[in-house]
Subunit: 160 residues, 2 copies
Amino acid sequence: MSAATNRGDSPHTARRSEIHLGLLDDFIGFNLRLAQDASFQVFAQHSGEPHMRPGRFASLLVIRNNPGLTQIELSRAIARDKSSVTPLVQSLQRDGLVERRPSDLDRRSVTLRLTKEGEKVLESLLAHAREHDRKLDDIVGIGKKPEFLRLLKKIVAELR
Amino acid sequence: MSAATNRGDSPHTARRSEIHLGLLDDFIGFNLRLAQDASFQVFAQHSGEPHMRPGRFASLLVIRNNPGLTQIELSRAIARDKSSVTPLVQSLQRDGLVERRPSDLDRRSVTLRLTKEGEKVLESLLAHAREHDRKLDDIVGIGKKPEFLRLLKKIVAELR
DNA sequence: TATTGTTATACTCTATAACTATA
DNA sequence: TATAGTTATAGAGTATAACAATA
């Protein structure tokens, strides 16, 4: 592929209908990014949650699956610094989705649990996620899904 | 898979070695996100560019492939508001990677081109991208790549 | 000495709105 | 009236460093 694609235009112009991405088009990494962007955009649009952010959803889920975990543990699970977790957890608490209790074993620590409301909101988010993922299943095709998932997981596991 | 996985722990504790993600584990959307995160992290770490950001790389590439395009066109190509493009382009210009010329046809417009230095930096980024993508090729397997790419593109095309 | 969580602070990325200069 | 680009401003999201309480 040539480096430049629009040299034929008049010198300082920019009239064109299409923008070209060039060789990135066949890169796995780049297409991974495009697919993930599209997937999240569509998911967030239909999630119903006005505050919906990837970090919030992931946190609710990790807390539900690991009730009583500490902020430090949460910060490791979602790969964020503890100082980033503080405002995130406070915001979830303000919205009544997460309860914070001092740990019995280590008085430095706070333990985290979902409230009833938090369970409900997470369940509704998961319902949207399931619905959204059904769309993805349809696009990928049920026969191809296991292999597709296997490759995605392999990328995460082996890319170091 | 059960909703909560660590109920057996003592009441307010959080001693656990592993954090569980639950049902998201088999969601295409979620695994897409993990794979893309891992891919970008590794790519950025080895890119050599201290200022490396996804937006910068994409902009350099779009400008090289469409020399003379305007900022508005660039903003559409990378899906950002024109007010976000202004500081981005200025930063690329400050680093000597992009040249800005007034348009001959429309005196409101600025046209963009890579400088020699910009071409060099982009070429080096592309070399890293190619090398990085070879790792991904190896992980996915050369036989599986076409189908894998096809599915990623299909997701972008059909997810609306 | 080391760790948990908070705070102060700062930097990046993004957008909206108001502005200018053109069209 | 509409569009290209800049500026002012603001809101997320993130991190580093310093700190208090506790281990």
